[in-house]
Subunit: 262 residues, 2 copies
């Protein structure tokens, strides 16, 4: 099932790039410049930041698409929707042919453990995977948009090349998290599992200038693992974390227990 | 692990109700009236319809909360956010104590197979489950808001009572789909798996009155199963489908294959 796929090495791959930080983020610009070295790249990404949108889809209103230029060149198409909208719209209307791979990111901020469920970056890759296309989500573990992501982009390029070489199951995407450390401090790459980290949520309640209450989501993140096999711990210890993500949604245990209960 | 929980029968349970159709939908009103027969009910739901929002969270702007009256009585609190926002905000700020159960719905429209990932109704239950609280999502398989959901509400009440009686694993929620047929045509209840149904997506491209293009998501849904063990097929054949949903996110197969690859 997992084998080297020589065919995709023979021609320049066709690569769809999206993200959730929005088409104007530094992360998507950096990865696009690298990917152009190896393939034909088309960018279709949200016009605005879409962090924590999860796997949302715009169905109650239409989508608008506008061309975006960066540094004087045509860069891509901005969509008035979510990362999932971008990938669906790209595959259904904008692309000339099925892409060889879908790259989402590079996201500014870690997407490990339960954050996989909330992440717009991962959701773009999920959408690609649901179409049967190899898909990878890349995140660098810093929310600082000034963080130098040149090294992270090199990593993303190398992993994209490897993913193009190898066939992996069509029901699986790769979720890559890159530590926000100096290149020299990176210890290597680990294939990891989705960890058990969790949020302790709270809301900050304040009053606006018109004395009306508002609530703003906050929270503290806890890693609850200590195994380097888990994504959180791998990145914390200076490893690039590559997690094969597959959505198994049925609880087999509860199904078996209750199935004759009817 | 799964045992009868007699304690919760002794006192009136404290029940949090949310949904994704919005606090003014007929579905949430119907289930709340039924649940009041057995417990103390608090309603915290989106102020507007949030269909297909998936597991989205509002982090870039504050949330507003307003009291909503229906039929001359205080009905609940409307939140300017997603189903996940409602449950998080309820549990962090509004509730006096941890609820015994969280009920999401009744949704107008089927939430089976891959729709579990896109469904706001399921996401409210997911959020409750992540807090370690028993959670159930209810949907009736008709988008017609005029559809008589009295029978579906009776079903939801009975299943909620059963769920209060039985302990099930804290990492599992129940996703219930009720056929949109006459009560007499219901054949029974089946414990099911998340099926393999999928969407063939397309976008309708039109021009607005100002000659600008817009795209509107559409699509056709295909059931790809024929086993009554799967949610889609169970409801199609007149059974109430009860699916234990658990998010297993790692592809064990790919992990094992590549783990010594580093």
């Amino acid at each position: 099932m997992i084998s080297q796929d020589n065919q995709s090495l023979e021609k320049r791959p066709y690569i769809l790039v999206s993200n959730d930080d929005g088409i104007n983020s530094p992360g998507i610009y950096a990865i696009v410049q690298k990917l152009k070295q190896i393939g034909e790249v088309i960018v279709i990404a949200p016009e605005h930041e879409q962090s924590a949108v999860g796997h949302s889809l715009t169905i109650s209103r239409p989508l608008r698409v506008t061309k975006v230029h960066r540094n004087g060149e045509m860069f891509g198409y901005a969509v008035s929707g979510s990362p999932s909208d971008c990938v669906k719209l790209a595959l259904c209307t904008y692309l000339e042919r099925k892409p060889d791979i879908i790259v989402s990111g590079i996201n500014h901020g870690q997407n490990t453990a339960i954050n996989v469920l909330y992440s717009g970056t991962v959701s773009a890759a999920t959408e690609g995977m649901l179409f049967g296309i190899k898909s990878i989500a890349f995140s660098v573990c810093s929310h600082d948009r000034e963080f130098d992501i040149d090294y992270a982009s090199d990593v993303a390029l190398e992993i994209t090349k490897k993913a193009l070489e190898y066939d992996f199951p069509k029901d699986t995407l790769l979720n890559v998290n890159i530590p926000a450390t100096d290149k020299l401090q990176i210890k290597g790459t680990k294939i990891t599992k989705v960890g058990n980290g969790y949020w302790k949520d709270f809301y900050i309640k304040r009053q606006d200038p018109f004395n009306r209450d508002y609530y703003w989501f906050s929270g503290e993140y806890f890693e609850s693992d200590d195994s380097l096999e888990n994504d959180d711990i791998a990145v914390k210890n200076g490893y690039i974390s590559v997690t094969p993500v597959k959505y198994t949604l049925t609880s087999q245990e509860v199904f078996e227990h209750f199935k004759n209960f009817e």
